[in-house]
């Protein structure tokens, strides 16, 4: 029991609970001293804020920094032994691989939570009429489904980046291990606060939280804002860490254009996260102030402008789409050559296309506002810039096709998910342009067509690739392989179910089904398609249960993984044993002696142990 209570996460949550009460009590106390009555809304906001900080204290995130501040000695991160065994994943650790797994666990927990919310409101939508939920419940579920899964995706890409990037570039750890741990742990209280909005009356606004609607209505919106605010910290600090790691900690001889391609996509993503996330935090913070302090930034009756919020919000939330998908597309580019046994076609172009998408991604936010009432001189330029994104994205697709062309493909489970990702993301990409040209978007905006479109981009750009990544690197993490059979069940159940769901969504959207409505007119004839969408959603959920079963059981009973499981040229497979040792390559020196993806070139290697290089020289002499 004592052991359990001293686990980082348990301690953190206890501190958070106590901190929340202290924060709320503090506000109540100050108001009482001023002779004012109790007010719940500001109390829960201050409670949430203090609670999150208390969590970080409880988990131990400030301990070393405090020591540094008062001048005490602190152990170097590379010399901290850290806990061993399963317990280490639930406490404060500085090891990037442990943090990567922690991110992964949090991502999967949020995936289950966010997905379950959708399963509930999909029952409501399976037939017309209101059966299960009332309006506020429905709106809360829809909004939380969106934001919880956004958090899940952010955690998922952080999981992949944290675990894989240092291994790929030959680094011992991330550049700032303590900041890395902080970035992860702040996301835990953030997720708790985000979910707690359910218990404070929910919120009516959807994940976009447009004022003036978000200025009125239930106060659950404050917990939503606060949760997103802290998730944003996690994103910004994590991105900073990754950029520094990639730019400064590559092994000897690994120029930028010799990095594994995944590192490029993480670099591009991190640049967006580091510079855009502030805007969603800021826009939400302004609405919080509007509610708490009666400032009037966005309410016209007080001199504000609701369109200003939309600009601030989408300035992050559009580039955010590329934050979500670029790492996934990087996974596709990274794994494809391994499984078709051919070099990645046009490495430099693929690398630069990630940067191109990141840059153009900043210029297109206005296409979310074509019907919002922005001026004509804004709508037309935003249409041009929006469609420009197709160019670097096209480069990626054409390069993948050229990589596959004449390749000798193998189809183990990770490859299946890579291919699923390509096809689903293709559909997501192709259904985009009709929403990108203004006049067609006047019809499509805020319909189920858009819902279908972005579920394609999210599944193709994140869900399929992260499953590919998990099946691919699982042996590196656990030393055992996941079951191929169950993996195939997962894939062949999820993919057609997804198509059923998304084609249904786009079909009725084009015919007039609006987004975010709890009920629809039976006269429109959508009942049957809605039922199919719900069935598709549940089948996806079942396939993911199969995945979790596989994930958990294989850790103990999976076939042991020995050597280079996928016959990859990448250093983590070519050099390191499975599971990967603590501190990665500590004591092992390797040099980059070739190109990362020269499959099919006899006798070539990407990396070689330093002593081998020495030996070969001797042999040559």
């Amino acid at each position: 029991m004592k052991n359990f209570m001293s686990t980082g996460i348990v301690k953190g949550i206890l501190y958070q609970i106590v901190g929340s009460f202290i924060g709320a009590g503090l506000l109540g106390g100050i108001r009482a001293l001023m002779g004012l009555s109790w007010k719940t809304e500001p109390a829960i906001v201050l409670g949430g804020l203090v609670g999150a900080i208390a969590f970080m204290v409880g988990v131990g995130a400030f301990k070393d920094w405090w020591k540094m501040a008062v001048g005490d000695d602190v152990t170097e991160a590379s010399e901290v032994a850290g806990e061993q065994g399963f317990r280490r994943y639930f406490g404060f650790s500085l090891d990037h691989k442990v943090i990567g797994i922690q991110y992964g666990i949090l991502s999967m927990v949020l995936l289950v939570l966010g997905g379950s919310l959708a399963l509930i409101f999909r029952v409501e939508l399976a037939q017309s009429g209101l059966q299960l939920l009332n309006f506020v419940q429905f709106n809360t579920l829809v909004g939380l489904h969106g934001m919880v899964l956004i958090a899940s995706i952010l955690m998922g890409i952080a999981a992949m980046s944290n675990y894989v990037v240092p291994l790929l570039i030959g680094a011992e750890d991330m550049a700032f291990p303590r900041l890395n741990a902080f970035s992860f742990w702040i996301a835990v209280p953030a997720s708790i606060i985000l979910m707690s909005s359910l218990f404070f009356g929910g919120f009516e606004t959807g994940w976009t939280a447009y004022p003036p609607l978000s200025v009125r209505g239930p106060m659950g919106i404050q917990m939503f804002f606060l949760g997103v605010f802290f998730v944003g910290w996690s994103s910004i600090l994590g991105a900073l860490n990754l950029i520094v790691t990639i730019l400064t900690m590559r092994t000897k001889g690994m120029g930028l254009f010799k990095m594994p391609i995944f590192a490029w996509s993480v670099l591009a993503t991190s640049i967006i996260s580091l510079t855009a996330t502030q805007l969603i935090g800021l826009s939400f913070q302004l609405v919080m102030f509007e509610r708490l302090l009666e400032m009037s930034f966005f309410t016209p009756s007080g001199g504000g402008n609701p369109i200003l919020f939309q600009h601030l919000f989408w300035f992050y939330s559009h580039p955010a789409v590329y934050i979500f998908v670029l790492p996934g597309l990087g996974i596709i580019s990274e794994l494809l050559p391994v499984f078709v046994r051919k070099p990645l076609f046009g490495y430099k172009w693929v690398a630069m296309s990630s940067m191109g998408i990141a840059l153009t991604g900043f210029l297109v936010w206005g296409h979310h506002m074509f019907t919002a009432g922005i001026e004509e001189y804004l709508r037309v330029p935003f249409m041009y810039s929006t469609l420009l994104v197709a160019v670097p994205t096209g480069v990626k697709f054409f390069s993948w096709v050229a990589t596959i062309w004449q390749g000798k493909a193998r189809f183990p489970v990770p490859m299946l998910f890579v291919l699923g990702g390509i096809i689903v993301f293709l559909l997501g990409g192709l259904t985009g342009p009709p929403g990108g040209t203004v006049s067609t978007d006047l019809h499509l905006h805020d319909t189920y067509y858009i819902v279908g479109h972005f579920h394609n981009t999210m599944f193709g750009g994140f869900i399929f690739p992260i499953f590919a990544a998990i099946y691919y690197w699982y042996p590196k993490i656990t030393g055992r392989r996941m079951s191929e059979t169950l993996g195939k069940v997962h894939f062949y159940l999820m993919t057609p179910s997804f198509f059923l769901m998304t084609f249904g969504q786009m079909r009725i959207g084009l015919l007039g089904m609006r987004r975010r409505i709890a009920d629809y007119d039976p006269a429109m004839g959508f009942d049957f398609t809605q039922l199919l969408i719900t069935i598709g959603g549940y089948l996806i959920a079942i396939s993911i249960l199969v995945f979790f079963y596989n994930l958990i059981v294989s850790a103990k009973k999976g076939e042991p993984a020995t050597g280079n499981v996928w016959n990859s040229r990448s250093p983590e497979w070519d050099i390191l044993p499975s599971p990967a040792p603590a501190h990665n390559y500590a004591g092992i020196h390797f040099n980059v002696v070739g190109e990362p993806y020269d499959y099919g070139l006899k006798g070539s290697k990407y990396v070689e142990l330093a002593q081998n290089v020495g030996q070969r020289k001797e042999n040559d002499e």
């Binding site: 506020v136 709106n139 009516e204 606004t205 959807g206 976009t208 003036p212 009125r216 209505g217 309410t299 016209p300 046994r341 051919k342 070099p343 076609f345 046009g346 019907t371 009432g373 004509e376 249409m383 469609l387 420009l388 197709a390 160019v391 096209g394 480069v395 697709f397 054409f398 390069s399 096709v401 596959i404 062309w405 004449q406 390749g407 000798k408 493909a409 390509i422 293709l426 192709l430 342009p433 040209t437 203004v438 006049s439 067609t440 006047l442 019809h443 805020d446 079909r507 084009l510 015919l511 007039g512 609006r514 987004r515 975010r516 409505i517 009920d519 007119d521 020269d598 499959y599 099919g600």
Partner: protein, 337 residues
Amino acid sequence: MKHFSIVSILVILLTVIVYVFLQAVGLLPTQASSQAVIIDQLFDIHIGIISFLFSLIVVFIGYSFIVFRRNKLLPDEEGQHITGSSKLEIVWTLVPLAVVIFISYLGAISLAETRKIDPQALEVKVTGGQWFWSFDYPDYGITSDVLNLPVDRQVKLSLTSVDVIHSFWVPEFRVKQDVLPGENLVKELRFTPIETGDFMVLCAELCGGAHAYMNSPVKVVTEGEFQDWVDEELGNFPQDPESLGERLAKNNGCFGCHSLDGKDGVGPTWRGLYGSEKTLVSGEKIMVDDEYLYEAIVNPNSQIVLGFPANVMAQNYGDLFTDEEIKNMIAFIKSLD
């Protein structure tokens, strides 16, 4: 080269199949405005491009997997060592760039076409609120909860909201415009109905609560029928307080929240309300009389009935209605026993 010829033929074949299929399933609702015709032409171009690009990628991948599959006798067979081609990369950067600029150009033309202004347009002022639509015809002095429009005449809507953001959308007309609160944020939307019939205006921007039900009928009729409707509205309707009150309530969307059938909605039902006893959120018990109703209309947050949310009803009815009008409305509520 042989492979590329076969693949090209397959790509063309699949493109045609996908395009014909997508056209055949009927993707869009009927075209009931001249803007819909223009917009659907652009949709057509998009569907063509989607069919082609989908076929291009899928056929290349599928063909390669089948034709170049691994020899079963050589399980370790590797692919050819081809690392890239700058020529190809430049081609598939520049060609899409040109296509994209061209599509944007077509998009701009299409937008301009949909926004052509007819100076003779019928003017309608549209007001959206939680959760109703109200339509004012300033030329005739009519207010209605149904959007009546003559066919083949452009209509110019001036849209405004009394509370949060709503969005005006009739799927058959294709066009959509958000409706914003604020006097300086009145937005304009023009379209020309080309087909008579009954349609629905749907609120397309999440506006909380009963957003799903924020729909109002749109009737497109012939010029003659429209004139008849105008005459009827302007002519003989009863002038007693109850009827005037009912008209006022209907045209201001009160029935979106307050039903007349005895079932509580977002707000209390009006049937049997007058004279009943209600418990307020403060715990106080009150009798619904003229005085209470007046206060509840002008200052709705002051006396919320237990079980109903505050901050839902607009706070500005005191400014919007004259005292005479409020008295009429109370008379109407009184008549509902």
